[in-house]
């Protein structure tokens, strides 16, 4: 393939993924979050804009687009403005290795990298750079505290997540996401590896800074944490990054543990979407059910519980694979 075709494909792919994430993950995700939180709290949620409040987020986005950009005095303007780009960009990069389904011409994936899982871990670790930049650039103590907390939290939870990823890679014998989905032909890895699945879900909740791990933006302590000072479309881009990252994590969990696009009768893409939204629902259910941790409990839980458990799980898996079932 000539290089300009590759380049054109990359540009078109980026545009498609960006609009897909913006519409499906961010706009629909926010609506779903508000509806589900409403139902859990015995409310109705948004109801007035469009049928059953379906157009509420579109109205909100249009409102945010028109708002003024406010930059705090003494803020570091360059860092303040760049941070907005880093967070959604890092979230978008995750989607390169997620297989959404399969067609007659092969799996529906942007690029089946042979380091897929490693790539996912690498790009999701870039988000924290953007969060730290936002926290520091705002020149606001709450934002800075939020940024520092996020760095501590995301670095701590990357380790159990990485160990869970390695466990799955061991079972499949590959880092490629398509190979991992194909290896679940007979048994989902979520069934074969419930411990790794649980660890991945907990670490994913922490990586996307959601309750019970949302110390980064705990509104009762830090206003809105690292994005306290952002207004208008910049605020919306942070939301986009956050929801994009959450959908990417859920998509990766489906790929690694729930058999990806595999399922009977229904078309593969539909299976993927059903599993994806089931996991998104679990994330939202957890968010509106559990209270928030304290920061020391949060870090202690990762280092003293999750990391030892995932290390033991990894060793046991390797032992079973090599010795018991060679």
């Amino acid at each position: 393939v000539p290089w300009y075709v590759e380049l054109a494909r990359a540009v078109v792919g980026t545009a498609v993924v960006f609009s897909g994430v913006a519409i499906i993950a961010a706009m629909f995700g926010v609506l779903l979050e508000r509806k589900i939180s409403g139902w859990i709290q015995s409310r109705l949620g948004p109801k007035h804009v469009g049928p059953q409040g379906l157009l509420q987020t579109i109205a909100d986005t249009i409102k945010l687009l028109q708002k003024e950009h406010i930059v705090p005095r003494h803020a570091d303007t360059k860092i303040f403005a760049t941070a907005v780009l880093v967070v959604p960009l890092a979230a978008l990069l995750d989607y390169v290795v997620i297989p959404f389904g399969t067609t007659r011409w092969g799996p529906l994936i942007f690029r089946d990298l042979n380091i897929g899982v490693l790539y996912f871990a690498a790009t999701s670790s870039l988000v924290v750079v953007g969060i730290l930049m936002a926290g520091w650039g705002s020149n606001n103590k709450y934002a800075l505290l939020g940024g520092l907390r996020s760095a501590a939290q995301m670095v701590s939870y990357e380790i159990p997540m990485g160990l869970a990823l390695i466990t799955v890679a061991l079972l499949a014998g590959s880092l490629s996401t398509v190979t991992i989905v194909n290896a679940q032909r007979h048994l989902w890895f979520g069934v074969a590896q419930p411990v790794a699945f649980l660890i991945f879900l907990i670490a994913a909740t922490a990586e996307v800074n959601r309750v019970p791990f949302d110390l980064v933006e705990a509104e009762s302590e830090l206003v809105a944490g690292y994005f306290s000072e952002y207004s208008g479309m910049r605020f919306a881009l942070f939301q986009l990054g956050e929801y994009g990252e959450m959908f990417a994590m859920a998509g990766m969990a489906v790929t690694l543990f729930l058999g990806g696009w595999r399922g009977p009768i229904l078309p593969p893409v539909l299976w993927f979407v059903i599993k994806l939204y089931a996991l998104i629902f679990v994330f939202m259910w957890v968010r509106w059910t559990l209270p928030r941790f304290r920061i020391d409990q949060l870090l202690g839980f990762s280092w003293k519980v999750l990391i030892p458990v995932s290390l033991v799980n990894l060793v046991v898996t390797a032992f079973v694979l090599m010795v018991v079932r060679p």
Binding site: E6, N114, I115, T123, V129, L132, M133, W136, A151
Partner: protein, 164 residues
């Protein structure tokens, strides 16, 4: 001009530009953040060389972890702002001279090397081959590195617990 050459020059330009910001910026946080495009540029070069595993590790460790570590240290040590001690490079002339000398030596070295072309073919699945090499011919190096990492882990724990 091939696509690879264009990609190389674009990446090299981006890396040079961010490198200049890293060494000249008076604001240490700007320097730290400007490291990210430089690291990502190196990642791009690895991808051009079909070293995908190394590229993934480069992003994970350098762009993801090392940058965060540097930013974290700056924010914890300088009152959270990183602006208490503006960076003034008092050795600019010496540094520039050293850099020019190094660049000249590299240029001479690069032009006088007979590049070993066609050294072999890539395995179909590079991560597996890298693992085999770590636990095969390069086992001693691998174990040596793990001892170094263990020592630094224990050292970090000892330093962190000193107050008790």
């Amino acid at each position: 001009v091939t696509g690879e050459a264009i990609a190389f020059y674009v990446l090299a330009g981006a890396m040079l530009a961010s490198g200049v910001v890293v060494v000249t910026s008076p604001n240490i946080v700007h320097s730290a953040v400007a490291l990210v495009p430089a690291f990502l540029g190196v990642t791009g070069l690895y991808i051009l060389l079909h070293a995908e595993f190394v590229a993934g590790v480069q992003v994970l460790i350098y762009a993801g972890a090392i940058t965060v570590l540097i930013l974290f240290v700056i924010m914890l040590t300088q009152g959270g702002t990183g602006l208490q001690f503006p960076e003034r490079n008092e050795q600019g002339v010496i540094g520039f001279a050293v850099a020019v000398a190094l660049a000249a030596m590299l240029a001479v070295g690069v032009t006088h090397t007979a590049w070993g072309r066609g050294g072999g073919t890539l395995p179909a699945y590079t991560p597996g081959a890298i693992g085999q090499s770590f636990l095969g011919p390069n086992l001693l190096l691998f174990e040596g590195t793990s001892v170094v990492l263990l020592v630094s882990l224990i050292g970090a724990i000892i330093i962190a617990r000193k107050e008790e």
